[in-house]
């Protein structure tokens, strides 16, 4: 199960944070800070998996953004790596060559959180087809 998803830039600012487990606000900030530190110092040649407290963090860097997923120890890391990539592809499709600023200005609107909500629910994968998600986003946008 996915515990949380974080999108952070290299300076440590969080651009997107979605938690599937309950945490106090102060704990959330601590977690974000720690994950950022863990992830930003790793050499690109190293594995994309780090142990974090009693879980694992699977991360990937796309340009200036780090996409981090915290999952249980028993989960399949390679699968979640694919998951991150699929998410990025979907975002890319929406924004055409998505960049960090797009995420900042559109975080609340249909796009980032809603995409995420169509993609992952309750910490598990909801839909694996890019096309299906994109269609659904289109429908939702029409309602706005």
């Amino acid at each position: 199960m996915i515990r949380f998803i974080l999108l952070q830039n290299r300076q440590g600012k969080t651009r997107l944070a979605k938690y599937y487990v309950p945490l106090e606000d102060s704990e959330k900030h601590k977690v974000e800070y720690e994950v950022h530190r863990l992830v930003v110092n790793r050499d690109p040649k190293f594995t994309n998996f780090v142990e974090f407290r009693t879980h694992k963090v699977i991360y990937r860097r796309y340009a200036g953004l780090f996409f981090s997923l915290c999952v249980d120890i028993t989960d399949n890391e390679l699968a979640y790596l694919e998951c991150i990539h699929l998410f990025v592809e979907i975002l890319d499709h929406f924004f055409s060559n998505v960049c960090e600023l797009d995420l900042v200005f559109n975080f609340h609107k249909v796009l980032v959180y809603l995409i995420l909500d169509e993609f992952i629910l309750a910490g598990e994968l909801q839909e694996t087809s890019k096309r299906a998600i994109i269609e659904r986003m289109g429908e939702l946008e029409k309602l706005e």
């Binding site: 900030h29 594995t47 142990e51 900042v104 959180y113 629910l121 909801q126 299906a132």
Partner: protein
């Protein structure tokens, strides 16, 4: 327009915040915005509500507190329109979590939304529920969600499925309700619904064993068929990733099959073919393919044994291990740890690759590889493996050294084939990384050294040489100082040379130099300095010519601010000056420390490791549960009996006194209870200084528990004059008081003081000569009444004592009445050793506590 009114568009606010150059500016902007929003909330402003919430969410993401917005979320959710609801739910998920009570208020709205005609709104509600519902909400809304599992729209079905996962996690009792709907979901064609249904099924099986049984019987075949169709399906652009159709679905199916097949032979059989197919046909040049292979291998390892499949799996892992991608290697190392339990041989083949991984630059890989190597060690490969690891120790990073050292020491202890190899390796480790070595490890080393009597000379010379090269590692210094103290004469005389050694010349003063530098070193801590002091004492006896010099060194610490050093310095100084006659006897060779009991004491504190073989010489017995209460007792343990309840250390001194044992010889197996360091100090405390209770605090350097017990405190009772004279006159035992040796056992006065007398009467059961029943009578000799009278007794290990309750706990004065108490003593060394017992009597006189202690040496000999 005021830029901070709630009329501001979200975009502008974001721009304003981004334009701030300092944190203070940003805080000011945010504060103004929050104020505007709060004002709008108070006015119950409808129009800009959802814009305000959007702003609030952004501010929350920046890290500012936003609790005042929570009620807004609720109001928005209750509004009829879709956009408002959407923002309301989004805010709900972001600003609240399941632990907040405000969440309960939302239950009703959510319920209505779940029943809404607009399926997008239903979707919103399901989404929010799935992400943050609490246990009560789950219980309330479960029936709605169940119904939605069969909704006509697949989008709703999949959301409902994931929502159900959360519900059963929060309220496992509801699991049964979901079994039937899930069985239907598993037959779906739509990938989205299928994958969510599978996930729900997996979680159901984890939560409820009945569900597991049901699915195992009914659905395994269907799932296998689905997987087969998926694997064989033609190119489907919608789901294609790297040439594989929907790898996520593959992986989830494999995971579910794993849960179903674990522990069940039939189910495992059904899946063998498809697993083989996936394992062989999947392409592994892309990450997606590797992810599937990884999951497949995991499944093969977990289900019931099928030789061919397992071999296949391990081959795949072998391939992964040589892949250049770090991720793949990491994953392979992980799996191999599990594979060892299944097929250790196959994993051994990859040993050299794994060793390479220990030296990798990536910390995660190093850690995994080290753990794997640790599991792989057995007697045949321990020597080369250890050599590799020790070589690597020299070049490894600081943060890795700790781990590495601990593992190496553990390996060396468990599997060392011969003592000399053990000592060599430990010396190397100590030289390289002594500061990372834990105390118990070097204690164990000392125990082994003392047991390897033919290696004493070799060891002390090797240590001497090591100290010449590096004196930085604390543990090395300590072990070396101890050995030089004990075996200094061997060092100087080059005694016990082995063929592999080069001769070295060490003079007596060289040896003393080394120990002196250990004391003088600024970095030496208390333990090292204390050990060095006592080593000097030993050397002063072994090298009489250096005695004067040693005395000077020792005397320097007379004024030390640390009590331990000061005490040692004074006491040793006085031995060197005034008590030369007993000095040599005091510091004679230490008796061989009992490995088995020491190991037993440690085994309970060692972490569990996978032991794949039986070690030889230095095997630590596992599971020997010794009471940790009396380490001193264990150290001087005489018998191999089952551990008796911990008795005070004083018993052993009595053993010495009562049993007339000669001082220790140097035989390897003798366990003669010659005084160890602690008893030594107690003797000293009687002899040269007034009895100090500080002798309690003397650390026993050879015990693993540094906090010392009243075990030693009780020894100070021996300051009773009669015994002291005996000790200082050359260790003759206190003669047993005259007692009849006739067959009828006379009663004895076991204990007598000015206010109390205790008499013992003996009897034995016929046919049971080892057990004696003692009837004790207490008489009060004073003119005050004793109240709260408690009698306690302790015996050495070869005796077993059972105390019955006393007849009363109040003793009238002047012998007007008595208290009787019956004891049963079983002597396992009946005929060889007489009974000895220590007693402790506590009572109150006029409200004041009185304590009397004593020992009974005058038992009739043949009890």
């Amino acid at each position: 327009m005021n830029p901070f009114s709630s009329g501001t568009r979200l975009r502008d606010m974001i721009r304003a915040i981004r334009a701030c150059k300092t944190a203070a500016e940003e805080r000011a902007v945010v504060r103004k915005e929050c104020a505007a929003i709060r004002a709008a909330i108070n006015e119950n402003d409808q129009d800009y509500r959802h814009r305000n919430l959007a702003k609030l969410m952004f501010i929350h993401m920046l890290g500012y507190p936003t609790h005042f917005g929570q009620m807004e979320c609720l109001k928005l959710i209750a509004s009829p329109g879709f956009p408002e609801k959407r923002i309301g739910y989004l805010g709900l998920m972001l600003l609240l979590d399941e632990r907040q009570e405000v969440l309960m208020l939302v239950t009703n709205s959510v319920k209505q939304d779940l029943n809404h005609t607009n399926q997008y709104i239903v979707g919103l509600a399901l989404c929010a529920l799935g992400n943050i519902c609490s246990a009560e909400m789950a219980r309330d809304l479960a029936p709605e969600v169940e119904r939605l599992l069969q909704f006509r729209d697949p989008n709703i079905r999949k959301k409902a499925a994931l929502c159900s996962i959360r519900i059963i996690k929060k309220v496992p009792d509801l699991a049964e309700n979901f079994i039937n709907p899930v069985a239907a979901l598993l037959k779906e064609k739509h990938h989205g619904v299928l994958i969510t249904g599978i996930q729900l099924c997996t979680d159901l099986c984890k939560v409820s064993p009945e569900a597991l049984e049901y699915f195992r019987k009914k659905c395994t075949d269907g799932l296998v068929r689905t997987l087969r169709d998926l694997v064989n399906s033609p190119y489907a652009p919608e789901y294609d990733i790297a040439g594989i159709t929907d790898p996520f679905l593959h992986i989830r199916l494999l995971k579910l099959l794993r849960v179903l097949g674990q522990g069940d032979a039939d189910a495992s059989d059904a899946m063998n073919d498809i697993l083989a197919q996936v394992a062989t046909k999947t392409e592994s040049n892309k990450n997606a393919g590797n992810a599937i292979l990884y999951e497949c291998v995991e499944t093969i390892m977990s289900i019931e044994d099928n030789g061919g499949l397992r071999v296949l799996a391990i081959n795949i892992l072998g391939r992964f291990l040589s892949n250049r991608d770090n991720n793949i290697r990491y994953v392979a190392l992980n799996m191999l740890m599990r594979a060892i339990t299944v097929d250790a041989q196959a994993v051994q083949r990859h040993r050299s690759t794994i060793l390479e991984c220990v030296k990798d630059s990536d910390a995660s890989i190093r850690k995994r590889a080290l753990e794997l190597v640790y599991l792989l060690v057995n007697e045949s490969n321990v020597k080369p493996l250890t050599k590799e690891l020790v070589d690597y120790l020299e070049v490894s990073d600081q943060d890795f050294k700790g781990d590495l050292t601990a593992k190496i020491c553990s390996i060396i202890e468990k599997f060392s084939p011969e003592k000399i190899w053990y000592i060599d390796q430990m010396l190397k480790v100590l030289t390289e990384a002594g500061n990372f070595v834990k105390d118990e490890v070097w204690h164990a080393l000392v125990v082994v050294i003392s047991n390897a009597s033919d290696l004493h000379g070799y060891t002390v010379r090797a240590l001497f040489r090591a100290l010449q090269t590096t004196a930085e590692q604390e543990s090395l210094v300590r072990v070396a100082v101890w050995c030089i103290g004990e075996y200094g004469d061997l060092l100087v005389n080059n005694a016990g040379m082995l063929n592999v050694e080069d001769p070295i010349t060490v003079t007596e003063s060289d040896a003393v130099d080394v120990v002196e530098s250990a004391i003088k070193r600024h970095a030496s801590d208390l333990t090292t300095k204390s050990m060095a002091l006592i080593a000097l004492l030993k050397l002063s006896s072994r090298f009489p010519s250096c005695s004067g010099r040693i005395k000077d060194i020792v005397v320097q610490h007379k004024g030390s601010l640390v009590l331990e050093l000061q005490q040692r310095s004074l006491e040793f100084n006085s031995i060197i000056e005034k008590h030369q006659n007993i000095r040599s006897a005091l510091v004679e060779r230490m008796p061989v420390l009992d490995e088995a009991s020491f190991g037993g004491r440690r085994a309970s504190s060692l972490p569990n490791t996978v032991s794949t073989s039986n070690g030889t010489a230095v095997k630590l017995p596992n599971g020997v549960a010794k009471p940790s209460a009396a380490p001193l007792v264990d150290l001087l343990d005489l018998s191999d009996d089952v551990p008796a309840p911990s008795s005070s250390g004083g018993d052993f001194l009595q053993d010495l006194l009562g049993v007339d044992l000669a001082p220790a010889t140097q035989s390897g197996t003798s366990q003669a209870p010659k005084a160890g360091t602690d008893v030594l100090l107690d003797l000293l405390s009687i002899g040269s200084n007034p009895a100090q209770d500080n002798s309690v605090s003397t650390p026993d350097i050879l015990s693993s528990a540094q906090d010392h017990k009243p075990a030693i405190a009780s020894l100070d009772v021996l300051a009773a004059p009669s015994n002291m004279m005996d000790l200082l006159d050359g260790f003759t035992p206190a003669p047993p008081k005259p007692a009849n040796n006739g067959p009828a056992y006379p009663s004895i006065v076991a204990f007598e003081s000015s206010s109390l007398r205790l008499t013992f009467n003996f009897s034995k059961q016929p046919g049971n000569p080892q057990t004696t029943t003692i009837s004790g009578t207490f008489t009060n000799l004073s003119s005050n009444v004793f109240t709260d009278f408690v009698f306690q007794a302790a015996v050495p290990k070869f005796l077993q004592l059972h105390l019955d309750p006393a007849s009363g706990n109040s003793l009238p004065a002047s012998g007007n009445g008595t208290i009787t108490q019956s004891l049963k003593v079983t002597n396992s060394q009946h005929g060889k050793k007489p009974l000895v017992m220590r007693l402790r009597i506590a009572y109150k006189v006029d409200g004041k506590d009185v304590l009397e202690e004593g020992q009974i040496n005058n038992f009739p000999r043949d009890l």
